[in-house]
């Protein structure tokens, strides 16, 4: 049996009281090891998702059909790189370096959001990602602005502002296509048909199968359950789809007067598990591309470090 030193118990009591009082835990504060490792895992996974998430959209930068759209898309992909930077910095306050986290991404020991393993096949996918994927991300992330860990909560405030801007742009892109030519409308509908279910999977497994949820809720890292957030997202999207003049690919979608929510059909969790295991349509491509960029850039990073060492400048 392990004995717990009295000062340890006292620190734990301070931590618990801070969390209970809705105050923030800061980098120098004592925190349980499991709280620290849960946060490192979650923040790193979040950062990795921003970085990998650049790929499906960057796929369309060189083919954007107007200069205005091209500028919007470039700015968005740039924002995602910036979000990755904020988040790696937040993770670093917990004592794990960016290099170590990137290494875990490249070797498959840390994950990124399953959604980015789907391909962007047409221009309309850029709009569907903005509306649905960023929309789901915001639904997930807004509560994180009140997360108990200060650096993460503050990063999320900045990120959510930019994300909601991206989401509106995606919606407006789809609206333009939906009201455009017949071919554009069909392109928009096809994209929504392909992205709807994967977006619902972004909220994670159903509550009764979500292993980390209870502890994360107790620590006030997480504020709502996966299923609650998923329901909130569906309720927001249904009327938006109607305004867009597009349908959602779910025959079971019906308004439930009693619950005051939209009922929706069953999610294909077998597909979700396959994608998480690495068997989605783009898992291999995404991670290879990321590794390739990192490996091909090694000589550049080495040069910067060597130059800084010679000239006595600080390097990261």
């Amino acid at each position: 049996m392990t004995t717990i030193a009295p000062e340890e118990t006292a620190r734990e009591a301070v931590f618990d009281a801070t969390v209970a009082a809705e105050e923030r835990i800061e980098p120098r504060d004592w925190m349980p090891d499991a709280y620290r490792s849960t946060l490192v895992r979650q923040i790193a996974q979040h950062a990795h998702s921003e970085i990998i998430g650049m790929q499906p959209e960057a796929n369309w930068i060189t083919r954007a059909p107007s200069l205005r759209r091209k500028a919007i898309l470039m700015a968005k992909v740039q924002d995602e790189a910036g979000h990755g930077l904020y988040l790696y910095s937040a993770a670093e306050t917990l004592g794990t370096g960016r290099d170590e986290l990137l290494d875990k991404l490249h070797s498959g020991r840390q994950k990124y959001s399953s959604i980015f393993n789907y391909p962007t096949l047409t221009w309309a996918d850029v709009g569907a990602i903005g509306w649905l994927v960023d929309g789901a991300a915001i639904t997930n992330q807004v509560p994180l602005c009140r997360c108990s860990y200060g650096p993460y909560a503050r990063a999320m405030v900045r990120i959510c502002k930019e994300e909601s801007f991206h989401q509106r742009q995606g919606y407006e892109l789809l609206l333009t296509l939906s009201r455009g030519t017949e071919a554009q409308h069909a392109m928009a509908q096809d994209a929504v048909d392909r992205w709807w279910w994967p977006s619902l999977m972004m909220f994670g497994p159903p509550d009764d199968e979500s292993s980390h949820s209870a502890q994360s809720m107790a620590w006030k890292i997480k504020r709502h359950s996966n299923d609650e957030l998923r329901q909130r997202f569906v309720d927001i999207c249904v009327p938006q789809a109607e305004t867009l003049g597009l349908t959602l690919p779910d025959p079971d979608l019906t308004w439930n007067e009693e619950r005051g929510h939209w009922d929706f059909g069953p999610i294909d969790w077998a597909e979700f598990r396959e994608v998480l295991k690495g068997n989605g349509p783009c898992n291999e491509q995404r991670i290879s591309r990321r590794r390739q960029a990192h490996e091909e850039g090694a000589w550049v990073r080495e040069a910067a470090a060597a130059h800084a060492a010679k000239h006595g400048k600080a390097t990261r």
Binding site: I51, M54, Q55, A58, I61, T62, R63, A64, P65, S66, L67, R68, R69, K70, A71, M74, A75, V77, Q78, A81, G82, G84, L85, Y88, R98, W123, T176, L177, G180, T181, A183, Q184, R289, Q292, A293, H294, E296, G297, A298, W299, V300, R301, E302, A303, A304, A306, H307, A308, K310, H311
Partner: protein, 239 residues
């Protein structure tokens, strides 16, 4: 019909448009996250310049998406493939140093380009600083980075001469002075980076001024094919 457009805004807009496109190809592939942000930032600045300039010449999307290779007036330098990071940096160093000189002059003038040049010159100073800093890091970094940076400077050198062929409509600008100042600035950076200025002719028989006359290098056709494909597939659509 578009051949009748003679404003100097067109060649300068084409430079910015095509270089922005090349930099956009880096998205998701940069050697370090900070460079994802920096390269996208520069690409966005250039795209912003291109939109203003092309709008002075006509409809920005019509000009970007519906002209063919022989109608583009950009420098051959900016259409060169990204290559490795050193090639991208060498291209940025050569072009941003040129663009800064040109825009400084235009900002002080009274042409229709003055307002754009006045705003863009601040962006371009940042682009030049970025390219200069990386030239120093790569040149005076490791053996490998020095070799790569020297190779990149050498490989792109022959495309630099055309920058000093007067742009139609801007013949009165001091082109010879641009060349002198450009050479002085590039030499200073290259020497500080412990590299040497490339040897050989700067104005090849084919490259000098060719891009400005619509004569491009082979990679350019593919760039346009990719850039224009979707727009051309839906004639008359709005996006």
């Amino acid at each position: 019909m578009r051949d009748t457009v003679t404003t100097p805004a067109l060649p300068l807009g084409d430079d910015a448009l095509i270089l922005s496109h090349r930099l956009g190809e880096w998205a998701g592939q940069a050697p370090v996250l900070e460079e994802e942000v920096a390269l996208a930032n520069i690409a966005l600045d250039l795209l912003g310049q291109a939109r203003v300039l092309l709008s002075l010449a006509g409809d920005e999307d019509e000009l970007a998406y519906l002209r063919e290779e022989r109608e583009f007036r950009n420098l051959q330098l900016v259409e060169q493939p990204n290559g490795d990071f050193a090639h991208t940096i060498a291209r940025q160093l050569y072009f941003s140093t040129y663009q800064e000189l040109l825009f400084e002059q235009l900002a002080d003038g009274d042409t229709e380009l003055a307002p754009l040049a006045g705003k863009a010159v601040k962006e371009v100073a940042y682009h030049r600083d970025h390219a200069t800093q990386w030239t120093l890091r790569l040149g005076d970094g490791t053996d490998e980075s020095r070799t790569r940076m020297q190779h990149a400077l050498d490989a792109l050198w022959r495309f630099t001469g055309e920058m000093f062929e007067p742009v139609p409509g801007l013949e009165s600008l001091p082109w010879a002075t641009f060349h002198d100042v450009w050479t002085t600035r590039i030499t200073a950076t290259v020497e500080q980076a412990t590299l040497r200025l490339p040897e050989g002719p700067q104005r090849g028989a084919w490259t000098a001024g060719a891009g400005r006359q619509g004569l491009h290098t082979e990679p350019f056709g593919r760039l346009l094919a990719e850039m224009q494909h979707l727009h051309r597939s839906h004639p008359g659509a709005t996006w």
